[in-house]
Point group: C2
Chain length 157, copies 2
DNA sequence: CGTGAAATTTTAACTTT
DNA sequence: AAAGTTAAAATTTCACG
């Protein structure tokens, strides 16, 4: 991974549909060289995918909440995480340090649906108390974070 | 927005680099029809962008944390949000209900850097106490959530 | 890493339903 | 209006130097 790879990655984070020709013009390489580099970055697991971003409110997902999940000792974290993954409303799932085992981000159409989703969460074996924080507005989200692309990767990455 | 639009959106959430020809084959339309629909979805603000997803650990961002931010009355929420947006390490920013004004997700190379970032956060006018939850592992993140695409949008979306 | 070339896709104009 | 057809321009993708 050299500086050119980092530039290509940064460009693809901003515009995941940029053509190889575009990228080549941005970084000063031929389209075929960019193509080859991107293929290697994908194969190496650096670039894990490309995804369209959708305004949630336009597709009927107007309510976002962050839910802390306290564990019970009736199931392993792995089983709980797998069960959380079964719920379509759970968009992200983090295992965390502290009193809670997980923090998840859920996205649902209405607060009514949020209530139902919380009920489903609490019915998962290994899930104890939940602590829900309702999101009032998303100021920004999943922003391209190039902090790691400006310098060399930290040792042991 | 009809069922075909929803299928196109779902496909682009999974693979944001799918060609219009691919999408056409998936949904049973010609490439040019898909092209026209996608253009309208972009213009309508339904599709807001396309982004490559990168494995953070491969670019030297091995530490993730969720930070709750308690407000003081020395700045408006808008000013605090703007200041948070200036920090490259802050990837997402949610204004939330409850004791905290914001919850942000930060991504940094090391715990040392996390300490520095928390210092920068606390130095922002309007930011009081912070409450940091370190992420031990990301089970899944920003998953395509098609819950809203299966049915019609909630009224008032 | 670049060049060149064939296959594919993009994109707009036009036609059809 | 919405979808299909056509065709020219651009891009993708691969072999080779």
């Amino acid at each position: 991974m050299d500086q050119l790879d980092r530039k290509i990655i940064a460009a693809l984070r901003v515009n995941g549909r940029a053509t190889y020709a575009d990228l080549g013009r941005s970084v000063g390489l031929s389209a075929s060289s960019v193509h080859e580099r991107v293929g290697k970055l994908e194969a190496a697991g650096v670039i894990t995918g490309y995804h369209a971003t959708v305004d949630p409110s336009t597709v009927g997902l107007g309510v976002t909440a962050l839910v802390g999940i306290h564990p019970t000792d009736t199931a392993t974290d792995e089983d709980v995480a797998a069960a959380l993954g079964e719920l379509a409303e759970v968009e992200s799932c983090y295992a965390v340090a502290g009193d809670e085992a997980f923090v998840v981000k859920v996205r649902v159409p209405t607060v009514d649906e949020l209530e139902h989703t919380l009920g489903r969460l609490r019915r998962i074996p290994g899930v104890g108390r939940t602590n829900t924080t309702v999101v009032l507005s998303t100021r920004f989200e999943s922003r391209p974070n190039n902090a790691g692309l400006d310098e060399e990767p930290a040792p042991g990455a």
